[in-house]
Homo-oligomer: 502 residues x 2
C-alpha cells in the first residue's frame, strides 16, 4: 500500500518556482468559486510524524485566504471535551458550506495510537473505524467533499528526519521522547495504518497516500490534489443537486393497498388510551410527589456528574411547554437549559442538520431540554418536503448513531412524544383564539400544519418505530388531559434516573 | 423498536378477499415491468421463528411468476460451502437483473445465533454486521433494490405459536427442541436483533419490521411493501442511470500542475529495473530449481488443504500465458484451473461485476489461476469508460474487501503485474505480425489499447498503490526478458507458499 510513497520522488526548486505562481492563483480562484457552492471541503492530515502534516496546513493557510479556512489541530481532550461524546469537538469545528476545514491529528489519531500501544485490539479498532466511517458518510451524504492525506515516510527516512529536526536550531524542541517511542513502534504503526486506510477509504472519502520525503513534492501533491478534487466535486455536486430537486418534486408511489386496510390502520398512536385523566386534587398531590422524587434524584445525578438530555416532540398545543416548566421547577436553574428549536438560523443552515444539536450538548451533570429536536428531520422536514425521501429515510440511521454516541458516553436520554387527538387540538386552538393572553401562541402556521395532520401522524408513527431502541426508547404521553400528562412526564424521567444512579 | 409490531393488527378475511385479486394483478404487472429494468430485487426474510418467514416466501412464489424468482433458504453450510469464504454461497445465488431473489435465513442468521448462544461478543458481532453492511452496500451501489423484513412476535405470542404448531396434525414435526431452546433465549435474541437492525438499517437497505401475529395482515404488508418499493425504485434508478450516463461523458478535470512535474512523474512502474535478464543456460537451471521447489511445496499445500488464488495482470504480449504454463506444469492437472477472462458473458453482464469471480472460487486445496481478473474494473473499464469515475474509485474498496474475505478464509493470494516497456511491446507485436504461427495472437484491439498506453499506465500505478496490502501485496515482474520473468514468477509463489505451509 505504501510502495508508491517510497519512490524518492522530488520536485526541483526550479520546477517548483516555475509552477508556484500559477498554482497559487488557481488555488485562490478555486477558493473563491467554492464560496458560492453549497458544500464544505473537509481535509484530514494524518500519517507518520515528520512527514509534513503541519507544513501542509501552514502552506494551505498561506496560499489561500485564511478567512474562509477553519484549521484545527487536536491534542489530548480538554475537561470540556472529555465531558462530552468523543466526536463533539469535531462536530463543533466543522466548516460551513463554501469553506475549508483543515484537520490535523483529528479523529484518526486516538484509535491509531490506542492500537499501536496495545490498549485496544483489532475488533475494537474496527468498531472505532466503523464509527469514523459513519461520521464521514453522514457528512458526505450531505454533500461535503472529504479529502484525507496520509503522509508517509519509511522507517529509515523517519529516523533521519527526526535526527535532523533534533539537531536543528529552531526545531529541536519539537522532538521529544514520545516521538522516538512512536518511531520504535514503526512496524506496528504501519500495520495499523494499513488497516485504517483500508477500512476507511470509501468512495466518498478516499485516502491519498503522499510521499513525505521531499517538501516541494509533497506540497505540490497536496495542493494539486485538493485543487483538482474541489473543481471536480463542484460539477458532480451540481448534478446531484439537480437530481435532488427533481426527487423532491416526485409524487409518492400510490400504495398498492390503502393503508386503512392494513390492520385497520392501527398504529402506535391510535392505540394510546387518550381518555386517561386525573382530577385536580389528585393532580396536585401527584405533582408534589413526583417533583420531590425528581429533586432527590437530581441531587444524586449531579453528584455523579451524569448528564441528562430530554427531547420533547409533540403536536402544536400538546402542552410541551407546560410539562417542561413543571419539570424544570424541581431543578436548580444553574444546572439546566431549555433550548427551543424552530427553523435553523442562517449560520445553522450552512451546516449539517445535526450540527446545531451537537453544539448544544452540555457539560457533565447538566440537564438539557430540547423543545423540538433533531427529529424535525423526519417530521416537519419530511412532511413539508424540505428533505427528500432518501434524506429523511437515511436520517433514522443517522439519528440512531447520534443517540448511540450520547448513550455510550453515559448520558441519560429521554424522548417524549406528547400526544393529543385532533379534536383536542381544535378545542385548544379555539380556546387560544378566544383568550386574549393566549392569542399570541396561535399562528397561521398552526392551522396550516393541522391540515397535514394525517401526514404528520404517519411520520410520527414511523419515527417511533424506527428510533425507539432498548437504550433510547420513546416515552409516549397521553396529553388530552394535562393533569394526567404532566406528572407522567416527571414520573417516567424519575424511573430512568433511578436506574442510572444505581 | 418493536412496539409497532406488537399492536395486534389484523386484516379480516373479508377485507383480504376484497383486496387480493387486485393486488395479485398489481404484483404480476410489477414483476413484468421489472424484467425490463437493469436492477435485481433482493428480499431478505429474518426474525422470530413462527412469525411467518417461509409463508411469505411461499406466497410470493405463488402470487408471482416463479420463473423470474430465485428463492433460497440456508441451513448449516455444506462441505462445498465450508471450503469457501462465508459469502460465497450468497454471491452464487444472487438473482440477475430484472429478477427477484428471496433469501430466507441467509446472512443474518449465523451472526445472530452466534451472539445469542454466547459464541461471539458485541465487538465480534459488530465486525460481522459491518461485513454484511458492506456486502449490501456493494450490491446497492450497483443498483440493486434490497428489502429486508424482520418478522416479529413477542415472547408470549411466540410461545403460543410454537405450541399451536406442535399440536397441529400436519405441522407438529416442524417444532423441535431447538425451537424451544431458542425461545428460552428470547430476550437475548431481541437484544441482538435490535443491534442487528440498528447497525444494518441503512438508507439503501432498510429493515421493515412486520407484525407476525395475523397471517393475512403480514402477507398483505410484505406484498404491498415490495410492490410499492419496486415501483418507486424503478423511477429512482432511471434518474440515477441518466446521471451516470452524464457522468460517463464528463471530461476529467485538467490537472492544476502537469503530472510530469510531480516528482518527475516517477511511478512504481517507472522505477522497475527493466534491464534485468538471464542467459539461456542459467534460465534452464533456474527453472528446474524453482519448479522442483514448487512441486514439493504443492504437495504440502495439497495435504494441508490450502487453496491458492493467483491473479495475472499485465500488458498485452507481456508473457502472462507463457509464465502461467511454466508454473502449472509443476502441478497435477486435477488440482489447478486456469481461467482466462475477457469481456463478460451475457449471463455475467446481468450481475455485479464481482459475481463472475466469486463463482469461480475453487474448493479447498486447489490452485486457481485468474488470467486477467476483477482488476479489469480499475483497468480496462476505467480507461475505456465502461465504468464511471465513482464506480472505479469505489472498486478499490470493494476489491480490498473481497480479497480480505479470501485471506481470512486462509486462501493464499498472489497478484502479479507482468510488466514490459512500450518499446518491448512494439517489438513483440511486430514479431507476432511477422511470424505466421503467432499472428492469431495479435488483434486490432491490441493496437488500439496501445494507443492508450499512458492512461493504462496511470491506472496500473494507482491500482498497485490502492490495492497492495500487507496481506495481499502485488508482485511486480520485470518482463522484458522472459527468461528473467518466468523463474521469478515461480520463485515468488514459492516464497509465499513456504510461509503459508509453515
Amino acid at each position: 500500500m505504501f510502495e508508491a510513497a517510497e519512490l524518492g520522488r522530488k520536485v526541483s526548486k526550479k520546477e517548483f518556482e516555475a509552477q508556484a505562481p500559477d498554482l497559487r492563483v488557481k488555488m485562490l480562484e478555486m477558493q473563491q468559486a467554492l464560496r458560492k457552492c453549497d458544500f464544505p471541503v473537509i481535509v484530514v492530515f494524518a500519517g507518520v510524524d515528520g512527514a509534513g502534516k503541519s507544513e501542509a496546513v501552514n502552506l494551505l493557510n498561506e496560499w489561500m485566504d485564511p478567512r474562509w479556512i477553519v484549521a484545527r489541530a487536536y491534542g489530548p481532550p480538554s475537561d470540556e471535551e472529555r465531558e462530552r461524546p468523543e466526536f463533539w469537538r469535531y462536530w463543533r469545528d466543522l466548516p460551513p458550506k463554501g469553506q475549508f476545514g483543515l484537520f490535523l491529528s483529528a479523529w484518526y489519531t486516538q484509535p491509531l495510537l490506542d492500537n499501536v500501544f496495545g490498549r485496544i485490539g483489532k475488533a475494537k479498532l474496527n468498531d472505532r473505524l466503523e464509527r469514523i466511517a459513519g461520521f464521514e458518510r453522514t457528512l458526505a451524504d450531505d454533500g461535503a467533499l472529504i479529502l484525507k492525506f496520509w503522509m508517509h515516510l519509511n522507517k529509515k527516512e523517519q529516523k533521519k528526519r527526526l535526527e535532523k529536526l533534533q539537531k536543528h536550531p529552531f526545531h529541536h524542541w519539537k522532538i521529544t521522547k514520545k516521538d522516538w517511542d512512536n518511531w520504535r513502534r514503526y512496524d506496528k504503526f504501519i500495520t495499523a495504518a494499513e488497516r485504517i486506510i483500508m477500512r476507511t477509504s470509501t468512495g466518498e472519502a478516499p485516502w491519498h497516500i503522499v510521499e513525505g520525503l521531499d517538501s516541494r513534492y509533497r506540497s505540490m501533491t497536496v495542493l494539486t490534489t485538493i485543487h483538482d478534487a474541489v473543481i471536480a466535486h463542484m460539477e458532480l455536486r451540481a448534478a446531484e443537486v439537480a437530481l435532488r430537486e427533481k426527487q423532491k418534486k416526485r409524487k409518492p408511489v400510490k400504495p398498492a393497498v390503502p393503508d386503512t386496510v392494513l390492520g385497520d390502520g392501527a398504529t402506535i398512536l391510535s392505540r394510546l388510551d387518550m381518555k386517561q385523566s386525573v382530577d385536580p386534587d389528585e393532580y396536585s398531590r401527584q405533582l408534589k410527589v413526583v417533583r420531590a422524587d425528581l429533586h432527590k434524584l437530581y441531587r444524586k445525578v449531579s453528584d455523579q456528574k451524569l448528564s441528562t438530555v430530554l427531547v420533547f416532540e409533540g403536536w402544536d398545543a400538546a402542552g410541551k411547554g407546560g410539562a417542561i416548566r413543571r419539570m424544570t421547577s424541581a431543578l436548580d436553574a444553574r444546572d439546566y437549559r431549555v433550548l427551543p428549536f424552530a427553523a435553523p438560523t442562517s449560520e445553522e443552515r450552512e451546516q449539517h442538520y445535526l450540527w446545531r444539536f451537537w453544539r448544544q450538548l452540555a457539560r457533565a451533570g447538566r440537564f438539557t431540554v430540547f423543545d423540538r429536536s433533531w427529529y424535525g428531520r423526519v417530521l416537519v422536514e419530511r412532511v413539508e418536503g424540505f428533505a427528500t425521501e432518501q434524506e429523511w429515510r437515511r436520517a433514522y440511521a443517522e439519528i440512531n448513531e447520534f443517540e448511540a454516541q450520547l448513550i455510550e458516553h453515559g448520558i441519560v436520554l429521554m424522548k417524549y412524544w406528547v400526544h393529543i387527538t385532533k379534536d383536542e387540538q381544535e378545542r385548544r386552538f379555539q380556546s387560544r383564539a378566544e383568550t386574549p393572553y393566549k392569542r399570541w401562541k396561535l399562528t397561521d402556521e398552526d392551522w396550516r400544519n393541522r391540515e397535514k395532520w394525517d401526514d404528520y401522524e404517519q411520520a410520527v408513527n414511523e419515527m417511533v418505530e424506527r428510533t425507539s431502541t432498548l437504550n433510547a426508547p420513546w416515552t409516549l404521553i397521553e396529553g388530552n388531559d394535562k393533569k394526567f400528562a404532566r406528572p407522567k412526564v416527571i414520573r417516567e424521567l424519575c424511573k430512568r434516573l433511578k436506574v442510572a444512579v444505581d
